[in-house]
């Protein structure tokens, strides 16, 4: 399943890698991409093992806030 998160916290392109790493370290996350330009976070995950809330927590672990997005 693909979930889109959005963050308004990204102020420097180098932070994307850290958020991606934090997400990928989560159990049940297959892949994660963070886009600095749009603040969009795209996560491929197994919703049974990692819920949207878990994803938001993982982003928070890296020091950033995110909310679940509506757009694709």
């Amino acid at each position: 399943m693909k979930t889109i998160l959005r963050s308004q916290d990204l102020t420097c392109p180098s932070c994307t890698g850290r958020i991606e790493k934090s997400l990928k370290a989560c159990d049940g996350v297959h892949d994660a991409r963070v886009y600095f330009s749009t603040g969009r976070i795209e996560v491929q995950h197994d919703p049974g093992r990692a819920t949207a809330d878990d994803l938001i927590k993982a982003v928070r672990m890296a020091g950033y806030t995110a909310t679940t997005g509506t757009l694709r």
Binding site: Q8, L10, T38, G63
Partner: protein
């Protein structure tokens, strides 16, 4: 404890609270130190300010270390810790406060830039009225099922894509097309989510809801375009990769050499390539966002940069420079005494109107492309009767009977077959019409020629304006490519002001011409709309597809898609692209000059830690603010291009 810490540190609103709190503590600290002379209280207050602002920075720094990354936050944390160790509480407080405050401002400015488009989605209403089991029910927009009937009241935002089942309204579609003028929507018309009904009441059958609307697709597509890295960005990131470690090395070397802790820490503070890192992404996001608001989809930073450099433009004729549909342009009765021939919009004489009616009756059952404009013109005069019987002769004309009269509409040769005499003066007129690229047909009734109808594919209203503006922008070579024969093409090209014409081209011929222009040293943009333009669009450095009436394949191949038929969008896209690239250059310059000045300032002992951080954050904010100017780009170019003849946009053909 962990939880509370988590709470404090991590929400954006709280972060602003932290900034305010830390700032207040700093002021209080100063007041205590200066006014009351309580140095100890001052230091305690400053230390509190550091801890409050610094906790969030340290969290990110720590996470960075775990990811084996040297982050800007790590540098700031080390510098702050160092400052605290040497007892300089004021510097430590100033650095953390300025960094947090700068980051907060930057984040809110970036959010505004990123949301130039997304806010359109948020403007859709929170509830809609649907018809369920005969009752009007209010539901959330995403709860509407495709196929359901949706009611749109006057003045309401439309929240689904749909087809008008009943009603009429002027709809503001600027969210989709960038066109400010509203479009009349009747039964059978397609309406889009994100548009606004201005006056009438509409019943729609929903075809797309939620994320499956044209607007959502556009926003998604624009975001993908914004996410694509511009070539300049890649160069900068390569630079940034060694810049930060190099500064850390420099700082260490200076420390070991001079044992000047303050200088070494200050170097760390200015060692973050903050302004440089965002010098490119911000203008790209703003430029692409602005273009999208104006009805132009630029598919990424790379295309934006190439578009800014084009030196030649190739244009398809049919459907791009012209409307792509024949129109009745000429009506000439052979009955009236002084018939000099008229352009269609001028008032027609009684004899001309009669001739048109007869021709329309004969064509009433025909599906021929040339029959449609004749019927359309005749219907403006009133209802058209159906022929009692008709007979189509492919490629030559149509013969029909109506209330005992025989009607013939067709070529000169067809008239000959019907035994209708044509004078030499008429032949001359036909030849003259042919020179202007007009297809002429004769109308005859009961064995006598009534007159001539001229049908032509006319140029789009803004075609010559576009060419003029492109020349003003320095595009010297503008060529017309067409599959039509040269004579037809020449007439249109002359009207538009294009000198270079290439006629009778097959799709691969268009491609060959693009290659030839590239071999001449040009960076070529190609504007087209049809499947036959796709190879040329792909071969050109920049392919521009016309949205309205355009085919999906052309839009897919293209690098820039225009949502409307408005040709003035071509120079506008060029202006936005150039403005964006100019903006990137300004930003890179600002970033590099600031970095160099700071480095020199620190090495010569003129800039301290707090001052360095202030300059650093200021340069970041200047760069973001400069990029945001692009959200208003292109105004100068479009100022005198408003009030265009209204064309019905067909965004669906591009994005479905």
């Amino acid at each position: 404890m962990n939880r509370i810490f988590d709470r404090i540190v991590h929400t954006a609103q709280h972060r602003f609270g932290l900034v305010v709190l830390s700032g207040t503590l700093i002021i209080m600290g100063f007041a205590a130190g200066w006014l009351a002379g309580l140095a100890a209280l001052r230091d305690v207050l400053l230390l509190a300010a550091v801890l409050i602002a610094g906790a969030a920075i340290a969290t990110r720094a720590w996470h960075g270390i775990r990811c084996h990354q040297v982050t800007i936050e790590l540098l700031v944390t080390i510098a702050t810790a160092g400052a605290l160790l040497i007892g300089d509480y004021w510097e430590a407080a100033a650095v953390t406060f300025l960094f947090m405050f700068g980051t907060h401002l930057e984040a809110s400015m970036l959010t505004r830039t990123r949301h130039a488009l997304a806010q359109l989605l948020e403007s859709t209403p929170s509830s809609v009225i649907v018809l369920r089991a005969g009752h009007e029910v209010e539901v959330k927009p995403e709860a509407v099922q495709p196929g359901e009937l949706v009611l749109v009241r006057p003045g309401a935002h439309i929240s689904v894509d749909g087809t008008v089942i009943q009603g009429r309204a002027a709809v503001d579609e600027s969210a989709i097309t960038g066109e400010p003028l509203p479009v009349e929507k009747f039964e059978g018309a397609t309406v889009y989510a994100g548009t606004v009904s201005q006056d009438g009441l509409l019943w729609l059958r929903a075809t797309g809801v939620g994320d499956d609307t044209t607007l959502a697709r556009i926003v998604h597509w624009v975001e993908q375009a914004q996410e694509e890295q511009a070539p300049t960005q890649r160069i900068i990131e390569r630079f940034a990769r060694w810049y930060t470690p190099a500064i850390i090395m420099l700082s260490a070397v200076f420390f070991l050499w001079t044992w000047n802790t303050e200088l070494a820490l200050t170097l760390l503070v200015i060692g973050c390539p903050g302004a440089l890192a965002i010098a490119t992404p911000v203008p790209v996001v703003a430029g692409i966002g602005r273009a999208a608001q104006r009805g132009m989809l630029i598919k990424g930073g790379a295309h934006l940069e190439t578009m800014a450099r084009i030196s030649a433009l190739a244009l398809d004729k049919t459907g791009t420079l012209t409307e792509g549909k024949p129109r009745l342009t000429h009506l000439e009765s052979l009955q009236s005494i002084s018939s000099s021939g008229r352009r269609a919009p001028e008032p027609w004489t009684k004899a001309e109107q009669d001739m048109l009616r007869w021709a329309a009756i004969a064509e009433s059952g025909s599906e021929h492309p040339l029959a449609l404009p004749v019927l359309a013109a005749a219907r403006m005069l009133g209802p058209v009767s159906h022929a009692d019987q008709f007979d189509t002769c492919a490629g030559r004309g149509v013969r029909a009977t109506y209330q005992g009269h025989t009607i013939g509409v067709g070529t000169q040769r067809f008239m000959g077959e019907l035994g209708i005499p044509i004078g030499s003066d008429v032949e001359e007129r036909l030849a003259r019409l042919g020179e202007t690229g007009t297809t002429a047909v004769l109308v005859a009734r009961d064995g006598r020629a009534l007159g001539i109808l001229g049908l032509a594919d006319t140029q789009r209203g803004m075609a010559s304006g576009m060419v003029r503006r492109l020349r003003d922008l320095g595009i010297s070579r503008i060529a017309m490519l067409t599959g039509d024969d040269r004579r037809t093409a020449e007439f249109i090209a002359g009207q538009i002001g294009i000198e270079e014409i290439h006629g009778s081209l097959l799709p691969d011929g268009k491609l060959a011409l693009i290659r030839q222009m590239q071999n001449d040293g040009h960076i070529v943009a190609m504007v087209g709309d049809g499947i036959n333009d796709a190879p040329a669009l792909a071969a050109a450095d920049i392919g521009i597809a016309m949205g309205a009436g355009g085919t999906a394949i052309a839009a897919e191949t293209a690098d820039i898609v225009l949502m409307t038929d408005d040709l003035l969008k071509v120079p506008e896209a060029l202006a936005i692209a150039r403005a964006t690239v100019r903006n990137i250059r300004q930003n890179v310059t600002i970033a590099l000059v600031t970095a160099a000045a700071l480095l020199a300032g620190v090495l010569f002992g003129r800039v301290g830690m707090a001052g360095g951080m202030l300059m650093h954050e200021l340069s970041v904010l200047v760069v973001v603010a400069n990029g945001m100017r692009l959200l208003r780009a292109g105004r100068g170019v479009i100022a005198d291009g408003v009030a265009l003849p209204r064309v019905a946009p067909r965004a669906d053909s591009v994005l479905s």
